[in-house]
Every structure is written in structure tokens, then in C-alpha cells.
Symmetry: C2
DNA sequence: GCACAGCCTGACCACATGGTCAAGATTTTT
DNA sequence: AAAAATCTTGACCATGTGGTCAGGCTGTGC
């Protein structure tokens, strides 16, 4: 038995570099055009490699897309995963929202790639969603529920609370063209969004005085 | 000068019927596959017409798509447009949210068609967004601002308030596959969403007592 | 510097896709 | 009922696209 895992075969330096180059280019193209809209020629051009060379590193267009998505999932769940039981409940929720918003701001291409996939019914990542994602959400919903029982934050449906964070933060990345058009010049969507969402979640969750 | 407008030429009964059939089929296919992912063959099959016949009624794939989107815009803006100055501010906002949520629930294909378009940067409807949509939002934001000045609802950024309604209601339609997976069996996303969102906007907007 | 594995590409293929067209079928008008 | 207008389609085309392959190039270990 060789010293390598099935998922991460040993790679030469050239392989390492070119695979990264290809994935970076593919992220650009897939996030802008969707899976069907993207072409291997565009990705090859963006990567500065020939099309057959792309297919030397990845078996198919599908495989590039799959690798991008699975690589993305871990990072995407991190903000929620980082919500700690031993912190202040309101601060933990606001911190989660803030981390998710920052993620959307700093990685809009990843956000769009993900949105495109879910829009088509998530055919390529349904297992992850029904497994890892679902479990994590259920776990954190139970945590929120406990906090609500203790009166540390006001009661509302904990799963929909988590969903609302996704909806609001994703929206600023995925619908950025619309948001910018509606806000007009002289507005920074992200700064304003951060302030608005902090207000929103404070009012929704702050325990009533007394 | 003939008795017909440039935008709505007189049409025979056959034309009327077939154009509707085609648009309905196209909505199915475009919303499920995106513009690039959809093919004229799929639309023709769904419509029960031959491909050349499609192109007898619509000059191109692009034209079908454009007609769908522009036809959709009016209906999509209606819930916001219906927010009246002379009503109770909180009830008006909750009513707006509720109408938008119902629209997402009852017309998920339209919602997805729209989402797909914005995700790609809204190349085909940027004028509408920068014109009609922007104007309407600005107008209603001023109304909300006035209500806030009067202390009838609590202060928050009015444009982002409107954006939050879009984000939250669209999410339940566009990301339905994800939402259902996370909630699991035995949940009705729409009923729960309506309750959660009512709580959310009540707490965000209710004036402080005293 | 030589051999060999790993890397790269031009030329090519099969198929899908948006769109055309001439000719035939059907409906409407007179 | 005939003429005119409208509707419908099979056959076809040009282009784009994912993917293949034989053979050449290049970096690495000896």
C-alpha cells in the first residue's frame, strides 16, 4: 500500500501549478457564464493553456466544475461552523452574519458559482447539501434554540434565522449588478449592508429589557 | 396611419395562441436551464411545435427570452408599487413583504428566470433596472423615510430595507432545493417563511413603546 | 548526455445547436 | 370556389463545442 490517499494523489510541481491555474480560470468563466454557458475554449484562453492540455489535467469539463464546487463547500460553511456555544449569543450571531457577509464581498465569484448550481436544482452537490450542510444547520439550530430557551436571544424559527443570513448576504454578491444600479453612485453597498444587517439582527434578537 | 401601436401589432387567433404556448414552454425551459442551457429543440418539444415554427413566431431564441423578461417586469414590481402612503406604515410594509413572498411561491419559474438574468449581470434588462426599477425604489424609499421621520416605524436604511425583502423572498423560490433539503421532511417552507418574516419585520420596524 | 516519464499540441471528429428556405398545407377573404 | 394570406415543416447549413489522439517536446534522474 502506497503512501498516498485516494483523494489527493501526489503531484509534480508542474501539475500543482497548472491545476491551480486551470481552476482559477474556470472559476472566472463558470461564475460569469454558468456551467452550460462556459466553454473549454474560454477557460483555456483565460488560463493561457491549450484546450487539450486542460483535458490532460482534468478528465472533462464536468470534473473541473465538480472540483471547484467541492473545494468551495468547506470554506463556505466555515462562518457558521465557527459559531461557538461559549460566546455571547447575540455577538456570536452578529459575528456569523459578518463573516458570511465578508465572504460574499471577498469571494463573489465563488458565491455566484454556488448560486448558479443551486438555481439549477443543485444536481451536482445534492449529497453534500443533504448531508454535511443539513447536519451542520441542524446542530447550530439546536444551539440557537437553547439560547432562546434561556432567554439570551429572542425567539424565532432558528433554521429560518440561519437561512435569512444566507439569503441576505448571498444577495449582495449574486445580485450586485442590481444592487449597484438601485443604489446609484456614491454608495458603498458593502459598508451600508453591514450596518443595515447589524441593525436588523440586533432588533430581531436582542432580549426585551426587564 | 393604421390603427395599431408599434409595440402590440394586431394578431390572428392562431398567432395569439401559439405565441402564448411558446412563451409558456420557454419559461419552463429557460428557468430550469438558464439562457445558454436552454435549446430551441427543448422549447419546441415542450410547446408541441416544430422548431422552424417557433422561429416563424419569434425571430430568434434571444427574442423569446427578451419577451419573457419584459413581460415579467411589470408583474414583478407590482407588490412594491402597491405600497400606499395613506395606509398604516407597518401594515403596508408587511403587506408588501407578503405579496412578494406569495409571488415567489406562486411563480417560482419567473423568479428563477429573473435570478438567472441578474446573476449574469443583467445584460438584457439593464435599462429597465437603471430606469423603472431604480425610480420606483427611490420613490418608495422616500416614503419609508418620511414614515421614519414621523416615528411611525423605526429608522433603518430604507433602500436596504427594500433590498432585504427581495433577498429574503427571492431566496425561498430560487434556492428552494437547498431550503427543502435543510428543513427536511414535514416542513412547509412557505408557511414557516411567512411567519418568520412577519416576526422579523415586526421587530425591525415596530416603534419603541413610549 | 542519455533515457524515460511526464508534459504539450495541431489536427481532427462526432454531435448539438441556432437558424434558413422552398414548398406544401390550412385558413381566411372575396 | 378560387385566390390570397397565413401557417407549417422536412431537409439542410454553418458554426460551436466537448473530447480524442498520434506524435513531438521537455524536464529530471542517472
Amino acid at each position: 500500500m502506497e503512501n498516498k490517499t485516494a483523494r489527493a494523489p501526489r503531484r509534480s510541481r508542474i501539475q500543482q501549478k497548472n491545476r491551480e491555474t486551470i481552476l482559477a480560470a474556470a472559476l472566472d468563466v463558470f461564475s460569469a457564464q454558468g456551467f452550460r454557458g462556459a466553454t473549454l475554449d474560454q477557460i483555456a484562453l483565460q488560463a493561457g493553456l491549450s484546450k487539450p492540455n486542460l483535458l490532460y489535467y482534468f478528465g472533462s469539463k464536468e470534473e473541473i466544475h465538480r472540483d471547484l464546487l467541492t473545494g468551495l463547500m468547506t470554506a463556505w460553511l466555515e462562518p457558521l461552523r465557527a459559531m461557538r456555544e461559549d460566546g455571547d449569543p447575540l455577538a456570536e450571531m452578529l459575528g456569523y452574519m459578518r463573516r458570511k457577509l465578508d465572504l460574499s464581498r471577498d469571494f463573489p465569484r465563488e458565491s455566484r458559482l454556488f448560486a448558479n448550481e443551486i438555481l439549477q436544482g443543485a444536481p451536482r452537490i445534492s449529497e453534500v447539501i443533504q448531508g454535511e450542510l443539513r447536519d451542520l444547520v441542524q446542530e447550530k439550530a439546536r444551539l440557537l434554540s437553547r439560547w432562546m430557551d434561556l432567554g439570551r436571544i429572542r425567539r424565532s424559527d432558528p433554521v429560518h434565522l440561519i437561512i435569512s443570513v444566507w439569503a441576505l448576504t448571498q444577495h449582495y454578491a449574486d445580485f450586485e449588478s442590481q444592487t449597484r444600479a438601485v443604489l446609484g453612485e456614491g454608495h458603498d453597498p458593502w459598508t451600508e449592508a453591514a450596518a443595515f444587517l447589524e441593525t436588523l439582527y440586533r432588533r430581531l434578537l436582542s432580549p426585551l429589557p426587564g
